[in-house]
C-alpha cells in the first residue's frame, strides 16, 4: 500500500510540474487555516488575500506577470504547515514568498528558509526580533509585530488615563494564549511596566483558549485597572463572554492586533460594546477604494473567493494587505532584476528589503486612508510602526484613537538584543554592508 502511495504522489507531482505553462506567472503559495481552531478568523484572511491577487490579474498583473495561487490547508497545525511548505515551495517554478499566518509555523519555517532561499512575510505575528534584517535575512514582519502592538496598546491606555505618569501604581492584567504566540507580547509589557511603575498580572490561558473560568476568577479577585488581551480565534470570543459574566467593564479591555475582528464579537454583539483593539494601520475598511475595486472587478464577475458580505471586514483587509505587500515586493524587485520577468524567491527577497511604498503609491493602489507609507531597508525589515485603536460599538468597529507611533527607543534595543541572542545560539554573524547590496 505504501509503495502505491509513493508512486501516486510521484505521479501527481509530475502532473503538477507539467502543468506549468508558457504564460508568465508569479507563484504565491497560500497556507490556509480554513479548518481547525482558528477557521473563523483565518478564512476571511485567505479570501482577502486571494481576491486581491485576482484583482492584480484583472489590473493586468505585475508589469504583465500574472499571479498564480495554490492553497494548502494547515489547520493551524505546525507539522501540516511544514508539509505544505515542502509541498509548495518548488511548485510552478518556485514559490515567491510564504505567509504562514501562524506563529508556530513561522518558527519552524524560519529554520528552513535560508537554505531554500524563500522569504516569508509575517505581518503582525511570528518572531518580533525578525525585524532586525541584519540577522534575519529572509523574515519580513512588515507593518508591525507583537511588540509594536503591545507598545501602542499601552500608549493608548496611558492616553486614556491621562499620561504615562498616571499609570504608576496601577495594575494591568495581560491575558495571553499560552504558546509562543501569546508569550511574544510579554517582553514589551514587562519593559514598559518597569519604566512606568505599573504592576502586571500575567494570566496565561492554555490552547485553544476556551477554558478561562480560572483566569477571570482571578480578574474578579484582583480587579486590575486594565486588561490587555493577546488572544486569537475562539479565545477572544470566550474572553469577552467571560468578561460579561464576571462584570468586568469592556471599556477597560484592550486587545492586540489579532484580538479585534468581527467573527469574535458578532456572537456577543451588544454586550461587547466598548471593547477596543489596536490595529496596525488598517481596520474594517468597507468604504476604501480597493474594496470597491475588488467588488467591481472580482466579486461582480463571479470570481470572489468567499462570501460577498465579508469583503472589507478586518481580517479580510489583512489578507488584502498581505497580498498587496507580497505583490509590491515583487514589483520592486522587478525594478532591479528586469521588468515583466518572473522573480525567484531570492530576487523577491531583495524587493521586500527595498520596499518603498509612498503614500502616493498606496493611494494609487486603493489604500487611501487604509495604510501609511512603508519603507524597508537592510537593517529594518519592519517598514512602519504606526497603529490606531478601534472600538466595538455593538455591531461594528469604529476608530477611537488617532495614529499612534510605537516607541523605537524602546523596541529597537529589545529587537537587537533578542536577535543577537538568536545569532549567538546559531553561531551566525551580522550581515555585512556588502551582503546588503546583494
Amino acid at each position: 500500500m505504501k509503495i502505491k502511495h509513493i508512486a501516486l504522489a510521484a505521479l501527481m507531482a509530475s502532473v503538477g510540474a507539467g502543468a506549468f505553462a508558457q504564460v508568465k506567472e508569479q507563484f504565491f503559495p497560500v497556507l490556509t487555516g480554513r479548518t481547525g481552531p482558528v477557521a473563523p478568523n483565518a478564512t476571511p484572511w485567505a479570501n482577502g488575500h486571494n481576491d486581491y491577487m485576482k484583482l492584480v490579474n484583472a489590473r493586468g498583473g505585475i508589469n504583465g506577470v500574472k499571479t498564480l495561487l495554490e492553497e494548502c490547508e494547515t489547520a493551524y497545525a505546525t507539522d501540516r504547515g511544514v508539509e505544505c511548505y515542502e509541498r509548495l515551495k518548488g511548485k510552478h517554478g518556485g514559490a515567491t514568498v510564504f505567509q504562514p499566518l501562524s506563529t508556530g509555523i513561522t518558527f519552524a519555517l524560519t529554520e528552513k528558509i535560508p537554505t531554500d532561499k524563500i522569504p516569508i512575510i509575517t505581518s503582525g505575528y511570528g518572531r518580533s526580533d525578525t525585524a532586525d534584517g541584519g540577522i534575519f535575512k529572509w523574515n519580513f514582519p512588515l507593518v508591525g509585530h507583537y511588540w509594536v502592538a503591545g507598545d501602542t496598546v499601552l500608549q493608548h491606555i496611558a492616553n486614556k488615563a491621562g499620561g504615562w505618569d498616571k499609570l504608576k501604581g496601577k495594575k494591568i492584567a495581560v491575558i495571553y494564549h499560552d504558546s509562543p504566540f501569546g508569550k511574544e507580547l510579554l517582553p514589551i509589557v514587562e519593559e514598559r511596566s518597569k519604566m512606568h511603575g505599573f504592576s502586571l498580572q500575567l494570566l496565561p490561558v492554555p490552547a485553544p483558549g476556551v477554558e478561562q473560568k480560572a483566569v477571570w476568577l482571578q480578574v474578579r479577585k484582583e480587579r486590575p485597572d486594565y486588561v490587555v488581551m493577546q488572544t486569537w480565534g475562539v479565545m477572544t470570543a470566550t474572553a469577552i463572554k467571560e468578561a460579561v459574566a464576571t462584570g468586568y467593564p469592556r471599556e477597560k479591555m484592550f486587545g492586540t492586533w489579532w484580538s479585534g475582528a468581527e467573527p469574535d464579537l458578532k456572537d456577543v454583539g451588544p454586550s461587547a460594546k466598548g471593547y477596543s483593539a489596536v490595529m496596525m494601520q488598517h481596520g474594517a475598511e468597507p468604504q476604501s477604494d480597493v474594496v470597491k475595486e475588488i467588488l467591481a472587478k472580482v466579486h461582480d464577475k463571479g470570481q470572489g473567493t468567499g462570501p460577498k458580505d465579508e469583503v472589507g471586514s478586518v481580517l479580510y483587509m489583512r489578507g488584502v494587505m498581505g497580498a498587496m505587500l507580497a505583490v509590491e515586493g515583487v514589483r520592486s524587485a522587478q525594478e532591479r532584476f528586469g521588468k515583466g520577468n518572473v522573480m525567484t524567491g531570492e530576487q523577491a527577497r531583495w524587493g521586500y528589503e527595498n520596499l518603498n511604498l509612498t503614500q502616493a503609491k498606496l493611494d494609487a493602489l486603493g489604500f487611501k486612508g487604509v495604510m501609511r507609507p512603508i519603507s524597508t531597508s537592510c537593517s529594518d525589515h519592519l517598514g512602519a510602526n504606526w497603529a490606531r485603536v478601534h472600538t466595538w460599538d455593538g455591531s461594528k468597529f469604529v476608530w477611537s484613537s488617532d495614529w499612534l507611533h510605537a516607541d523605537e527607543q524602546i523596541i529597537l534595543p529589545l529587537v537587537k538584543a533578542s536577535a543577537n541572542k538568536f545569532a549567538e545560539q546559531k553561531k551566525l554573524t551580522r550581515r555585512s554592508g556588502q551582503d546588503c547590496q546583494s
Binding site: A10, T32, T43, R87, G90
Partner: protein, 358 residues
C-alpha cells in the same frame, strides 16, 4: 510455493533462535532494509523526504516504543506525547548547554531522561490497570505541557518558549540535506527496531507478555510485576524519547510544547491499535496509516477532482480528508480488530499454502 520452510532444517539452537527463522523472511527483510538505505535515496524527491519519509520514519520509531508498553506489556498509556517532549527538551538542553556535545549522545541522553520520566509516571501502573491507567498517564501529558511552558530554564530562557537547534553533525558529517536526515533517522530506527525485536523475544519480553495476558497468573509463576511493568515503561519511554528528540532536532528544527500535545499521544495510541498491538511490524503499518494516509488523501482528492473535471475547494478537501480517514479507521477496525499486522500475518499464512490451499 516459494514461501515455505519445508526442507530448512535447523541443526543448532542458535539457528533455531534467530530473529527470522525462515530463510525467505530473512532475505526479504535484508532486501527491504537495503532498499530503504540504497534505493529510496536514489529515487525520491526532496518533498518526499521532508514531508513524508522523515516523519514516517520518526513516527514509526515512536509507535514502536508505544507498542512495547501498550502492545507487549498491556499498559495503556496516554502519556506518549509527554515522553517525546521530555526526550526532545532534554536532548535540546544537553545540546545547547554542554559545549561540543555530539548530537548522537544528546539524543541518547534525551532518551535516558525520557526513560526516567517514564518510570516515574509508570509507578501508578503498580496499583491501577487498564483505562484507569490511561487516565493516570494522562497526568504525564499535562505535567509536561505545564513544565515546558512554565519553567523557563528548560527552554534556555527563550522569551517565546520556542526552542531551535541547528548545525547538526554526526562524526563530522553535517545532518542538513534531506537525504542525510533520512539516513540518520533510518539508521537509528533500524538499530532500535532490531534491539526491540530481540528484546521482546527474550526473557524480559516474555515477562511483559505474561503480565499483559494475566498479571495474577504471572505473579504466581514468579514474575515480579513491579520489575516487569517498570522495565516496560523504561524501555518504551527511552525509544519514544529518542523519537521525540529526532522529531524536534531533525524534522521540525524549531518547536514549542504544542508540537507534543495530547493530540500526539492519541495519534500514537491509534497507530498501535490500528497497526497491531504486540507486533513490531504493526508499528510501521500504524505509522504509515496515520502519518502518510492523510497527506496522501489531501493530495489525491484534488487530483481525483481534476480527473473528473471539478475543482474541489481547500475546505472541502480538508473536511473530506477527515471523513474518509475516520471511515477507514472504523472499517479497518471492523474488518480486522487485531490491526494491519494481523492482515500481514494472514497474508503470510496464505502464501505458505499457495498454490494448494486446503
Amino acid at each position: 510455493m516459494f514461501y515455505r520452510e519445508n526442507g530448512q532444517f535447523k541443526t543448532t539452537y542458535r539457528a533455531d533462535q534467530q530473529i527470522f527463522a525462515i530463510t525467505q523472511d530473512r532475505v526479504a527483510v535484508l532486501l527491504l532494509i537495503a532498499a530503504a538505505f540504497l534505493v529510496v535515496p536514489m529515487v525520491t524527491s526532496e518533498y518526499m523526504f521532508r514531508a513524508i519519509l522523515i516523519p514516517f520514519v520518526i513516527m514509526s520509531l515512536a509507535a514502536l516504543g508505544v507498542n512495547i508498553l501498550v502492545g507487549y506489556c498491556g499498559q495503556i498509556s496516554l502519556g506518549s506525547g509527554a515522553f517525546m517532549a521530555v526526550g526532545a527538551y532534554a536532548a535540546f538542553n544537553f545540546f545547547v548547554r554542554v559545549d561540543g556535545m555530539p548530537v548522537l549522545l544528546a539524543l541518547l541522553l534525551g532518551g535516558i531522561c525520557a526513560s526516567a520520566f517514564g518510570i516515574l509516571f509508570g509507578l501508578p501502573s503498580l496499583r491501577v490497570k487498564g483505562l484507569y491507567l490511561a487516565v493516570a498517564t494522562l497526568a504525564a501529558q499535562f505535567f509536561s505541557d505545564w513544565m515546558f511552558l512554565r519553567i523557563n530554564w528548560f527552554t534556555n530562557n527563550s522569551t517565546s518558549g520556542s526552542v531551535s537547534v541547528s548545525n547538526l553533525q554526526v562524526l563530522g558529517y553535517p545532518i542538513a540535506s534531506p537525504i542525510s536526515k533520512y539516513l540518520f533517522c533510518l539508521t537509528i530506527l533500524v538499530v532500535l527496531a532490531l534491539l526491540a525485536k530481540n528484546l521482546v523475544r527474550s526473557a524480559i519480553g516474555r515477562e511483559w507478555m505474561a503480565i499483559r495476558d494475566m498479571d495474577v497468573a504471572a505473579a504466581v509463576i514468579g514474575i515480579r510485576p513491579m520489575y516487569a511493568k517498570l522495565s516496560a515503561f523504561a524501555v518504551s519511554s527511552f525509544i519514544i524519547g529518542v523519537a521525540g528528540a529526532l522529531w524536534g532536532f531533525v524534522h521540525l528544527g524549531s518547536w514549542e510544547p504544542a508540537a507534543f500535545s495530547v493530540d500526539l499521544s492519541f495519534k500514537l495510541l491509534f497507530m498501535v491499535i490500528i497497526g497491531g498491538m504486540g507486533s513490531i511490524m504493526g508499528s510501521f503499518f500504524g505509522a504509515g496509516f496515520i502519518v502518510v494516509l492523510p497527506i496522501f488523501l489531501n493530495r489525491f482528492l484534488p487530483f481525483l477532482g481534476s480527473l473528473l473535471g471539478v475543482e474541489i475547494s481547500t475546505t472541502a478537501i480538508a473536511h473530506s480528508e477527515l471523513i474518509i480517514f475516520g471511515t477507514l479507521i472504523v472499517w479497518f477496525l471492523i474488518a480486522e480488530p487485531h490491526g494491519l499486522a494481523k492482515l500481514w500475518s494472514i497474508g503470510k499464512q496464505k502464501l505458505r499454502l499457495w498454490p494448494f490451499p486446503h
